[in-house]
């Protein structure tokens, strides 16, 4: 809202009583409580930060000593690699599994349902241990006639490397979650949109890719970001495979020197920074998919 142009008053409109409201200055709604609330929040945050900075318990010297330390940076890279690979594989799986679960085909539906059920409920830790230690349970994997003779066989302990096991576990785990995220997005799209697409004779795959998914994106994105942040932190579970990601690395370090707090803080602050970066990205992607929904 802007001030009214006083030019309008000069157009010679009859100046009856009360004076035409056009002459009046518009005052935007005032919100005194906002300021009180803002002040209160600022005080609390300031006090907390003050405590953080001045309290010797946090041991900022150690924190800064390790924050950019080489092994930490290397570990951060591993974390990012695992996160990205897990997210991409996971969402690729989810985009396949979600329409399967919604399809009318009972086989596809059950397979998808079963997959989601199992891989959502088995703890990532257990899955990682399972994949990394396949050799513990199965000495050899063989391809061949079911319950019959085999053609090829592998030694399982050489089949899956630690990093491979981590990726496999993360991907399967994420796919199960992503499938439900995508399904929620699809459910949120007005069914008339698909009818319109069907009436135009657009092929199924294209319907999904061009009509359904872009509209579902609005409901998918915040959840996908949730899952990504979660994944970023979940990668710490790969510590069981002795893979040097961020959280593992700080554990190794505080295992050595006993300075738990500043080192946990190193990992935490990195997570906070990465999440902030992700949030900024999320903001722009959300804005992109909000086009056409202005009103």
């Amino acid at each position: 809202m802007s001030l009214l142009s006083s030019a309008r008053a000069a157009t010679g409109r009859p100046s009856d009583e009360p004076p035409p409201p056009d002459d009046l200055v518009v005052v935007p709604a005032r919100h005194p409580w906002r300021w009180v609330a803002a002040a209160a929040v600022l005080v609390v945050v300031a006090q907390f930060l003050h405590g953080l900075i001045t309290n010797p318990g946090w041991d900022w010297g150690t924190f800064f000593g390790y924050f950019f330390e080489k092994s930490v940076m290397d570990a951060l890279l591993v974390t990012l690699q695992l996160t990205f690979a897990g997210a991409i594989l996971g969402f690729a799986g989810g985009v396949v599994l979600a329409p399967m679960r919604l399809s009318k085909n009972p086989v596809l539906k059950s397979v998808s349902w079963g997959f989601i059920w199992v891989f959502r409920s088995v703890p990532l830790l257990v899955q990682l241990l399972f994949w990394a230690n396949l050799g513990y349970l199965y000495d050899r994997l063989q391809i061949g006639v079911p319950f019959g003779p085999g053609f090829f066989s592998f030694e399982t302990s050489t089949l899956v490397s630690a990093f491979g096991a981590a990726l496999l576990g993360l991907a399967l785990h994420e796919a199960a979650y992503a499938a439900e995220i995508v399904r929620a997005g699809i459910l949120s799209v007005d069914s008339r949109q698909l009818e319109a697409a069907a009436a135009l004779g657009i092929p199924r795959l294209r319907q999904f890719r061009r009509i359904l998914l872009p509209q579902a994106m609005r409901a998918i994105l915040p959840n996908a970001a949730n899952e990504l942040v979660n994944l970023l932190k979940s990668t710490s579970v790969v510590y069981v495979l002795a893979i040097g990601e961020l959280f593992y690395q700080v554990q190794v370090i505080y295992g050595r020197n006993g300075r738990v707090v500043p080192l946990l803080l190193v990992a935490t602050v990195w997570y906070v920074i990465l999440t902030a970066a992700l949030s900024v990205l999320q903001h722009y992607v959300e804005r992109h998919y909000a086009r056409g929904y202005v009103r």
């Binding site: 309008r8 004076p19 409201p21 056009d22 009046l24 518009v26 005052v27 935007p28 709604a29």
Partner: protein, 244 residues
């Protein structure tokens, strides 16, 4: 009574309403006609403050909509106050906008509360939907949905009702029935503003007809005057195309 003075509204660079002055006397029916995209819906939306005007004022029953005057200043009202003002203003959307998770009856009762159930049923019966009270919007035909939307707007017994093409999905029989409903409302002193493309309907229902073109209010007057003896070239051209 509604009073619009110098109402101007733009979307980006597109000026959709330009300096509209309009007075609607209490208890009268004003019909807004005009080409598609001329700003009719936007005009209605400005009246109940769903769209904030860029310039000008909207008053209903002498009360400024969306603002409160203190001395020589206009204070924006809080959302709560605006919502209260809207309870006196019924609105029938061009796209109906029924609540899909509620049955027809629930849609009608949502703003008035469950106590009003008899009245809700009566309203639905009046628009010919006695047997569809428990149907969800997706189970209703276009015309049935439109009638639910009308019943919903009337349930609050508003002083003013804004209809955005209330008969677009209705067959000729039902148009007659909706006309009856409107006549009753007018008799009870309800003010109405109706946007419509059906000139026949406009002629039947209107006390005043207003012709809008490209956001400008070109002509206004009683139906006989505007429809049969338009002054403006644009109005003439427009009305000449009416299929009879």
């Amino acid at each position: 009574m509604i009073e619009l003075t110098g109402v101007t509204k733009s979307f980006g660079t597109l000026e959709v309403l330009h300096d509209v002055d309009l007075t609607v006397p209490a208890g009268s029916v004003t019909v807004v006609i005009g080409p598609s995209g001329s700003g009719k819906s936007t005009l209605l939306r400005c009246i109940n403050h769903l769209e904030k005007v860029d310039r000008g004022r909207v008053r209903v029953d002498g009360e400024l909509i969306g603002y409160r005057r203190v001395g020589n200043k206009l204070h924006e009202l809080s959302e709560r106050h605006i919502l209260k003002q809207r309870r006196d203003i019924g609105f029938v959307f061009q796209t109906f906008n029924l609540f899909p998770h509620m049955t027809a009856l629930q849609n009608v009762l949502e703003a008035v509360g469950k106590e009003a159930e008899p009245r809700g049923r009566e309203l639905l019966a009046r628009v010919g939907l006695a047997d569809k009270v428990d149907a969800y919007p997706r189970q209703l035909s276009g015309g049935q949905q439109q009638r639910v939307a009308i019943a919903r707007a009337l349930a609050l017994e508003p002083k003013l009702v804004l209809f955005d093409e209330p008969t677009s999905a209705l067959d000729p029989e039902l148009v007659g029935e909706v006309l009856d409903v409107m006549r009753d409302l007018a008799k009870a002193g309800t003010t109405m503003v109706v946007v419509t493309h059906e000139i026949g309907f406009a002629r039947e229902v209107a006390d005043t007809i207003v012709f809008l073109d490209e956001g400008r209010l070109l002509e206004q007057g009683p139906p006989a005057e505007v429809l049969d003896n338009p002054q403006h070239e644009r109005t003439k051209a427009f009305l000449s195309k009416v299929l009879v």
